[in-house]
C-alpha cells in the first residue's frame, strides 16, 4: 500500500539552527501538507501546498517557515532559525483532493527537539 515517508524520524538541534524536514508524498497525490503536534497537544495545521505554491497557511507558519517541492517526489519543510517552542512532532500528509474535503494520508512523523 502506498505511504507517505518522512525523514529524519528524529532530529535534535540547537536553538537558532536551520532544520529541513523531508517528505515523500504518495506519488499520484496533488495536495501536500505539514502539520505539527506538540507533545500532549492537538495536531495543528501548518500549511498546504498545491500546484507548486502555498494554498493555505496558519498563523503558526510565520516567516521562519518555508516549504518547497524541489523535484517530482520530495516535499520539504524548512525552519530557518529554530526556537525552543518549535520542538514537536511534524507530520507530512498528502491527498488526492483538497484536504478540507477528503482523506489525508499521514507519514509517521519527524520528531524535532530544539535544545
Amino acid at each position: 500500500e502506498p505511504e507517505v515517508t518522512q525523514t529524519p524520524s528524529h532530529q535534535v538541534t540547537q536553538m537558532g539552527q536551520e532544520v529541513i524536514l523531508r517528505c515523500v508524498p504518495i506519488s499520484n497525490h496533488l495536495y501536500f501538507y505539514w502539520y505539527r503536534q506538540i507533545l500532549g497537544q492537538k495536531v495543528e495545521f501548518l500549511v498546504s501546498f498545491y500546484n507548486n505554491e502555498i494554498s493555505e497557511k496558519s498563523e503558526i507558519f510565520d516567516d521562519q517557515f518555508s516549504v518547497e517541492r524541489p523535484d517530482g517526489s520530495n516535499f520539504t519543510l524548512k525552519i530557518r532559525s529554530t526556537k525552543l517552542e518549535d520542538s514537536a512532532m511534524y507530520f507530512c500528509a498528502s491527498s488526492e483532493v483538497a484536504g478540507g474535503t477528503g482523506e489525508l494520508f499521514f507519514g509517521e512523523g519527524s520528531r524535532l527537539t530544539v535544545l
Binding site: 507530520f91 500528509a93 489525508l104
Partner: protein, 112 residues
C-alpha cells in the same frame, strides 16, 4: 474561530464492549468530518469519514454518526479489542479550505 473538540480525554472499556467516542465542532461551514486513530509515536491513521449530507456511515466494526443540528459527531467501535487502544482524533474540514482542524483526542484503553 473554528474549533473541534472531544468530550472526554480518556475512555476505558473492557474487551468486547462497544465504545462510543464523541466530538463537537463549532463551525457551521464544516461539511467534511474524519476520524483518525493515532498510536503512540505514530502518525494519524484513517478510520472513517462522513460528509455533511449524511447522518451515518458504517465501516468494518466502526460507525460514525453526524448530528448537524447540535454540531456533534461520534465514533462507535463494536466489540472493542485491545488493538483498538490508541488516541482517537476527530477532524473537520470544508470545501472553502484545504486544512483539517483537529480536536485534541480521546485516549481509548481496552483491557482484556
Amino acid at each position: 474561530g473554528e474549533s473541534v473538540g472531544l468530550h472526554l480525554p480518556t475512555l476505558s472499556v473492557q474487551e468486547g464492549d462497544n465504545s462510543i467516542i464523541n466530538c463537537a465542532y463549532s463551525n457551521s461551514a464544516s461539511d467534511y468530518f474524519i476520524w483518525y486513530k493515532q498510536e503512540s509515536g505514530k502518525g494519524p491513521q484513517f478510520i472513517i469519514d462522513i460528509r455533511s449530507n449524511m447522518d451515518k456511515r458504517q465501516g468494518q466494526r466502526v460507525t460514525v454518526l453526524l448530528n448537524k443540528t447540535v454540531k456533534h459527531l461520534s465514533l462507535q467501535i463494536a466489540a472493542t479489542q485491545p488493538g483498538d487502544s490508541a488516541v482517537y482524533l476527530c477532524a473537520g474540514g470544508s470545501q472553502a479550505g484545504t486544512a483539517l482542524i483537529f480536536g485534541k483526542g480521546t485516549t481509548l484503553s481496552v483491557s482484556s
